[in-house]
Symmetry: C2
Subunit: 555 residues, 2 copies
Amino acid sequence: MSERLFYLPLGGAGEIGMNCYVYGYGTPGDERLIVVDLGVTFPDMDGTPGVDLILPDIAWLEARRDKIEGVFITHAHEDHVGAVGHLYHRLRAPIYARAFTANIARRKLEEYGVVDPAAVQTVSPWPETVQAGPFSVSFVPVSHSIPESAGLAIDTAAGRVVHTGDFKIDLTPVVGEAFDRDLWSEVSKDGVRALMCDSTNVFSHHPGRSELSVGPEIERLMTEAQGMVVATTFASNIARLKTLATAAERAGRSVCLLGRAMRRMVEAAVETGLLTDFPRTVTPEDAQDIPRESLMLLVTGSQGERRAASAQLANGKYLGLEMKEGDTFLFSSKTIPGNERGVIRIMNQMSEKGVQVIDDSSGLYHVSGHANRPDLQAMHEVVRPDCLVPMHGEHRHLTEHVRLAEAGGMRGLLAVNGTMVDLSAEPPRVAEFIETGRTYLDGSVQIGALDGVVRDRIRMALNGHVLVTLIIDEDGTPLGEPWCETMGLAEEGQSRTPLVEVLEADLDQFVGRAAKKTLADDGALEKELRTIVRRTSQNEIGKKPEVTVVISRLA
Amino acid sequence: MSERLFYLPLGGAGEIGMNCYVYGYGTPGDERLIVVDLGVTFPDMDGTPGVDLILPDIAWLEARRDKIEGVFITHAHEDHVGAVGHLYHRLRAPIYARAFTANIARRKLEEYGVVDPAAVQTVSPWPETVQAGPFSVSFVPVSHSIPESAGLAIDTAAGRVVHTGDFKIDLTPVVGEAFDRDLWSEVSKDGVRALMCDSTNVFSHHPGRSELSVGPEIERLMTEAQGMVVATTFASNIARLKTLATAAERAGRSVCLLGRAMRRMVEAAVETGLLTDFPRTVTPEDAQDIPRESLMLLVTGSQGERRAASAQLANGKYLGLEMKEGDTFLFSSKTIPGNERGVIRIMNQMSEKGVQVIDDSSGLYHVSGHANRPDLQAMHEVVRPDCLVPMHGEHRHLTEHVRLAEAGGMRGLLAVNGTMVDLSAEPPRVAEFIETGRTYLDGSVQIGALDGVVRDRIRMALNGHVLVTLIIDEDGTPLGEPWCETMGLAEEGQSRTPLVEVLEADLDQFVGRAAKKTLADDGALEKELRTIVRRTSQNEIGKKPEVTVVISRLA
């Protein structure tokens, strides 16, 4: 049996976020592996109430831990690096990244008590290569909305494949490297078997705009604004932070950073030498003494996150600072679909304070970090792969990206999470399907997405919860009456009597008449009591609650 | 004390949806009242899990039931008419509406068993007036995305005020009346004290487009599509239904309606003579025998609602019909902010089936039913009121609309829900603030938004729920050990022992050592047990659950 090269997305191919891709090389079934990115995605009340973070299910990888040669992180966005801390102890493979990304990854490992300096290795970009078993991997700089983003050139005996990571084509990115077409041409000049390519913006038909273009608009806004200006963007968008801070400085405003992520990212960027001329910042305490019209707060929470600085300022005072009538709040960001409600809540709270809220609807104050459709085509042209495999996108993005590739005369191959693609086959083809999924970080525990815990929470939230307790004495007769407690249910319904009383009366009536046999059988009894609660509740309040029955038998 | 005219929004001013406005005329404190619109808004998992519908809190009105002269419904959208059935028995005032709206309102009352033909009275438009106590009210036709929409000219001894209802300026609305500038000029010619004006689209800077403009694009799409076409839009948008059905017919496709609201709306429009030349439709059963390329399904669920026809088709077969590769799904609608997740879910499910999904991002297949900024200005110009009071919008929309009015040289007055405005004062001014809120229809019961029921559901969803039962015998000593059940919590945490066992061990240890006094005091005991559960859970799984304690004392 000859050796093969495969590609296997475990996360990111069929969703935006939670990127995690595997490449394998070797005899089928015994391949050596590398992992590209270990990202997270974020929970929401609709589907994952109470969950803290969503991680890729790495059971498949964990079972092959001894085969993993390394984990390569393309850039420091949470959906690419966010899971390294949470999953490191399950994989224990060395992590490779460029300096800034490595700095962020190390901070995440430290939170989990991992201080081994060899855990994260800093790699210089192309032409430096990391030898990882049969893989030779190079970080190819690419422009994106965070510094030191990189695509990967992955070489094996089966030839070269290229993994773009997230990217845009930006010739003037403010911070970090401009897109270098010559470099990408050089990487691709001897032929590329397959290009695994970012797909998030495939439905954006206009060419992408450069980070540089937002500077003058932001500066004008900061200059014309009368009161205090508060601006929010993703903390990791170092270029934007610089643009905002520089504009503030030119407009005669002191800059104050609010929010842990904001301070952390600026710190990392300074430590790694990426931010050399960031304006001097003032502390929140000092900011209180600065006239409003000479102040700009740079805050976390562009997605309306409830505990972030923006939400705190919308609610009231935060660290002694407060927004007032005549101030301006700028969303220098795009609202990620699904986060609209939180963002709109903040907008309206600001509006109630008399604050002028400016969002991106004008297109002046934000540009995307991802390649739009024409830029994807440009990337296809530069790399000219034998086969295009779209990644990082929902199903509709991947499908559309395949169509785009095929329209350009290229071979396109759709591979959603769990699809193992044999890249060394001629042409590349699906080899098999692996079971994949999501793991929830829930409090301090990792639980499976399908193990029912979150499903039960959703059920309680939708239906309410009734508890029934019944004590049965030594000779099998009920001791007293069944007792009910309700949570999340209306206190009374159609009979204008407390629901709990109606339930207890119905349960008591049943228990009083129940056969000895039923009373002796926990399972049967529990089922009957549950049915009565659900039926009575339906009659009284029109809802069928979740029911927990506790039968205590005196011995 | 002289008489006065007031305006009091109870819903809709500070939100999009749930419209409910009150006008009062008479001696202060003893005014006669009319109500304009009784709408609903829709629950979501974030803030109102398990709730069926959100209604305005009409406690203030209910307490003054004998003063209400009538309820005037401007048009048949759910956010204006949706609460009439649920609230009729609490107000028992006659409902006035134009024929189509009255038809819909009657259907809603019938669902609540109200069959009194006098409950809903059909009113012809301007110049006909309804005399309602001191009010003389006229329905002034206006274009919107549902037939027979009307503004109201409301006359009292204090002069005329105008309430726009929802509107757009459409000269070719396909179904229903075109915007009639001359009519609105006539209504306004003797002076208008105040204009209560729709605000939802105040941030849309381009002039609105006519319903007529989408027809040719939709027809082209229906003609060019290869397989079956499935189109969704709001069922109440009769003009769009007609456009879609007519386009289908011209493209040689039979039309099949799916979804209860869709059939109901078409029925009402036919009954009231608004739809005279709607293409003949086929039943879902007959549709199964029609070749896919000769079929168009017109379905409910444009907002991704889980139980609507669109979601059912995305999941699999629905009434024997199924989407397949090569079919086309058209969202002839806009996604309302907050509904993105549901809509995107459907898009991806369709994509997985190989269905081409077309949404409104191109702007070709949908136009808004509300007046954009330039159209609002046009309305201001036609009516030229002494004062502009923005309604129907979030706080940010109302504020911006005041700014727009003031920029146009008009007086603007911000009045959010609960703000009673004395319109007869010179100039109009805020008279007082009334407590307002929301009522939840929860199953078959109406509950208050702030009574804690839904808050408890959210807490269970976020934190999980632990039940503790403890039996204490006649002499005050625990009988057996405390018993725990968990719902919505991880099965085990850091000690790798089932959480329930760890909890029970800790509780048992406490109970074994507890003082007689504590064991005798239900309150103290419950508090201690709850604290232990929360502390142990925090240690084990990093979460502090909701806890219900049931102490049973044997007598």
